[in-house]
Symmetry: C2
Subunit: 188 residues, 2 copies
């Protein structure tokens, strides 16, 4: 498949986007449904992705790349842990779909080594950021760092859910995540 051919790259993009959206709310969707949802023929799907696993793997890498490309520049600015985490969360909320897809991935079972390497790497940099927040005296040292990382993921899941419900806007969920994560739900 020549990536310079406009038709091919258009199909590939449509398939990746449609798969993400559809498999997110219906993980058992058949490839016929996926193809239909992308507006391409089923045969075309198979021309781009040999098997179902390859497709899922491609979506994952695509999502990881999208997140990496917004997170990395923020990390490179080398600001305080607080400023960095604040910006990262603000940047990831618009990618809540992609992020949630990755979270639900352990469920499917990611055996692809390349995926796991990038995934673990991203997890590690978040872990590192939390540790830095502790050493900067910003984050409670009493809380397990892995717990905090997991909690950040969960809050983004909450954001994804609320956005999907149409209950809140992106800006609202972003401030809610930050407020809840940093100072909790109680007054004072």
């Amino acid at each position: 498949m020549n990536p310079n051919d406009a038709r091919a790259s258009r199909s590939r993009r449509a398939l990746l986007d449609a798969s993400l959206e559809l498999l997110l709310q219906k993980p058992t969707a058949s490839l016929s449904e996926v193809a239909a949802h992308a507006g391409v023929g089923r045969a075309t799907l198979y021309r781009h992705f040999d098997t179902r696993d390859k497709l899922v793997c491609a979506i994952t890498l695509d999502s990881l790349g999208a997140i990496q490309s917004v997170v990395q520049p923020i990390l490179d600015e080398e600001l305080s842990a607080e400023a960095t985490l604040t910006r990262i969360i603000g940047a990831i909320v618009p990618l809540a779909n992609q992020y949630h897809f990755l979270l639900s991935l352990w469920n499917i079972g990611a055996d692809d080594p390349q995926v796991m390497e990038i995934y673990n790497q991203q997890l590690a940099s978040l872990f590192e950021l939390v540790e830095r927040g502790k050493s900067e005296g910003w984050i409670k040292p009493s809380l397990n760092s892995r717990w905090i990382v997991t909690t950040i993921d969960s809050l983004i899941y909450s954001a994804w859910w609320m956005l999907g419900q149409g209950e809140m806007t992106e800006d609202e969920v972003t401030t809610h995540i930050l407020d809840t994560l940093f100072s909790g739900i109680t007054k004072k």
Copy 2:
């Protein structure tokens, strides 16, 4: 199927427990796998649950019942919102499996009216509790109550995840949930 027959109720219980455990980590598991995991024949599964949907529905009702039976007594004590929520979370953590199954339910699509009624009812009582927390001057009125309810769910998901990883004990995750939820991850 006579519920007074020890064989039947034993099979039913084994099927419900095994299904919860297996479908949680592999939602696409076949009914053959489920039956094998429960240690009963596939035919027996079908004798107890006509279709796959009926089985999922039964697990859901079973889990809802288990949660209801620990939550209701706490609500009946009519303590402060803070004390009530603290106790509820402590009581639900041991049922994290059941709770998580329910959370992943919207994904499958719960079209059963009975399930949705009980589910919405439980969600409503949690919402009410949060509202009460606000009027008692305990919870920030600036936060969307539905957001808080969703966040509580997410934190229990975090707890389920950490427990599954073997990273923390039940007691640890309980205090972590309360600490994080009530006062956030930052110092002071």
